[in-house]
Amino acid sequence: MTLSASRLSLVGVSKTFPGIRALDNVSFDVRPGEVHGLLGENGAGKSTLLNILSAVLSATAGKIFIDGQPLSLSRPADARAAGIAMIHQELQHIPELTVSQNLFLGRPLTMAGGVLVDRRQQERRAREILADLDPHINPRAPIHTLKVAQQQIVEIARALLDDARIIAMDEPTSSLTPSEFESLAALIARLAATGVSIIYVSHKMNEVFQVCDRATILRDGRFIDTVALADVTEDQVIARMVGRDIAQERHVSHARPEIVLQVEDLSADRLIRNASFSLHRGEVLGIAGLVGSGRTELLRLIAGIDRARTGRVMLNGATVDLRNPRTAIRAGIGLVPEERKKDGIVRERSVASNIALPCMSRFTRFGLVRRRALHTEATMLMKKMGMRPPDVSRAIGTFSGGNQQKAIIGRWLAADVDILLFDEPTRGIDIGAKAEIYDLIADLAKAGKSIIVVSSELPEIIRLSDRVMVMREGHIAAILNSDAISEDAIAAHAIPRSRGPDFPAQPLEAQP
């Protein structure tokens, strides 16, 4: 290993959490002035790696070198001092403060012996740095008045102020327009030319191939390969990212003719407009669409979390009382939410308690909770779903995302709901558990549950769904039958048109 030639060297870096091996013996190098892609599916370990580099997490094993010097990272300040800067997906600044105030946050330029902030000096420095990056940014403008792309440039400027030698960007283009991406790509090239090393994390292959020199591929927390992108094709990279068993399994439909759920004319202010569709017993209905197209909002209406303005939901022919989640659950509708930590779990409570919440009465006799019965049933459910370890009296927060997700699904099985709504069911879950969740959803459908899955991952939608409903700007743009489902068809309906007639009357209903 030629440490001297590399800007950043990771040697055998590992990180374990209870129940999950997030990073397993990862080693690679980043050269000076190199733009280095970091690739892998959700849960491959990219975020963990970035968090270790920025000292948010500490590695369980392994060494990190910068310019040949071993690095000991125990606090985020250490990473900054070592010249590592992180540009997060969610930009981190204080919206009301000006560009220059944000730039010098935590390390102000001072005057009068360090007592007063020297605003003028700060603004001058800010202008100097920004002149190279984007001269249109006014250092005195409050940062929330800037476009996202410009805010990102301010973050880059902040990194440069810190004399960063390594700038790691986590999904930097997730909210940029194509032309903004082009200017970012140009900026990255210029930065690299000055000798700064860039670590570029993205899902988008075209971007990675355009921006990066080499890329390191992670899968299930393991190092797979570092490739020179000039020598490989996109397909080769994807194959290594995804690896073995994601061989497309044939989708088998368990849908039966009987209609279970009928959504009629559901609307909520601006977010959902006149949604009508039906769901069959044993069917998996996928909902695709862009972020903000109303998919999550629609699920929340059906689950009774938010209030609909008009419309109704019929379950087995009876109108469901959607006043609150409780009434929806009683009718037989349960939601597995996208943001598990915020909307799904009560971290400090045991898995068993988390499972029992919607159906406490089932585990209550004479006003007292039957702990033993609850424990037995929860253990049985979790074993069946392959929770590891199936210790249901442990706090749910100590389990991995996949296991937490299984517990939330277990909750709805214990409550014996008929309709399960999944919002991004595999978000933040490692690949192994992902396949298990897919199998679980298929098993549920087979057992006669009716399922709606919202997902931003098209392969996931296509693999799981009997039919796919595409949402666009708050309304249902199309419902695709199994033979009509393809990535192209979904994309064609999902993307808003600027002109022309709204989609012509589609045959919205279709028998599965």
């Binding site: 968090n51 689950a303 609150n324 939410p337 915020k342 009560v346 409570r349 308690s353 919440l357």
Partner: protein
């Protein structure tokens, strides 16, 4: 941000936090036992329990509210209003049991008011109960013209000041309440709901927990317990004072916090709170026995609270 993985590995079957509080209790009592031979005698220990009973009663209600993610600053004035209603009923010739029920109902009504504003109107508990603190105190003062109500029937006073098998009645009352509340918190759906609502209100709601009802229930409970404390004090003093209960809320919060309740919600223990109240009571008793000035008692109380929190943080082994 990424904090899930750094959580403690497992939820211990025996509550470690309670064990810690118990250790603190033993330590403080041992120190006083060494410093003053009277401290560890049976009569004095009974005395400590008696002196701690009112705060324990209030603190138990406070614990439930804190676990649910709220706070109740109005317990003192709630107690005063309840005492005055109870005393007035007794003086008007209402049978004592009915008067007691009237007092407790008054306390629960105060709690219902707070709980409704918190759970239904969605106001912040700190502010709601801060307002209620003034409101209820004003009601008590206006109703009485600021004067205590004397002439509490002797039967009531004797009942409260009596002993059962050598143990003061207030201690027994609070012990029974604590036992019931322990069962409620650890063995009933309501207990699960309170812990879930305090731990993560949004997740609890989505999981079908009746969040508003749960919150209202804990405030009503706290109001009722404030009334019980008020009745105990009324019986002991032989009068219902409209200024009763000044700063009770702070003692109660202190006892709950020493006992392991987290003001962030989702955590707390009945046994811990009881021990917290006894620690505070024992501290005051011991310092009084040693003729330490009241100023220093205040000092000691402050030190104990802050020390308890520091130990709490250190033993959880988690820095954020």
């Amino acid at each position: 941000m990424t904090q899930t993985p750094t959580l403690s590995r497992s939820t211990p079957r025996i509550n470690l936090r309670d064990a810690g509080t118990f250790f603190g209790l033993i330590l403080i009592f041992a120190v006083f036992a060494v410093l003053n031979p009277v401290f560890l005698t049976a009569p004095n220990l009974v005395n400590i329990l008696q002196q701690s009973s009112i705060n324990a009663c209030i603190a138990l209600g406070m614990t439930f509210i804190i676990i649910s993610g709220g706070i109740d600053l109005s317990v003192g004035p709630t107690a005063a209003v309840s005492a005055i209603v109870g005393a007035s009923l007794m003086l008007a010739g209402v049978p004592i049991p009915l008067a007691v029920i009237g007092a407790v109902a008054t306390g629960m009504a105060c709690g219902l008011f707070n709980g409704t504003l918190v759970a239904v109107a969605g106001l912040q508990p700190f502010i709601v109960t801060l307002g209620a603190l003034s409101l209820y105190r004003a009601l008590a003062l206006i109703f009485t013209g600021g004067n205590p109500i004397f002439g509490i029937p002797p039967q009531f006073r004797e009942a409260i000041n009596g002993l059962v098998m050598g143990i003061p009645v207030p201690v027994i009352i609070v012990a029974i309440i604590a036992a019931v509340l322990w069962v409620v918190l650890n063995r009933t759906p309501l207990g699960e709901y309170i812990l879930a609502v305090g731990g993560n209100p949004e997740a609890a709601r989505i999981a079908g927990v009746p969040v508003a009802r749960t919150k209202i229930t804990v405030y009503v409970l706290s109001g009722g317990l404030a009334a019980v404390a008020a009745l105990i004090l009324t019986g002991r003093l032989g009068a219902a004072d409209p200024t009763m209960g000044n700063l009770w809320e702070l003692d109660a919060i202190a006892a709950a916090a020493i006992g392991g309740a987290s003001l962030m919600g989702g955590k707390g223990s009945v046994i811990g709170t009881l021990m917290g109240a006894v620690i505070l009571g024992g501290l005051r008793n011991g310092l009084t026995l040693m003729n330490v000035q009241a100023f220093y008692q205040l000092l000691a109380t402050g030190i104990i609270i802050i020390a308890a929190m520091l130990i709490d943080r250190a033993t959880r082994g988690r820095t954020r």
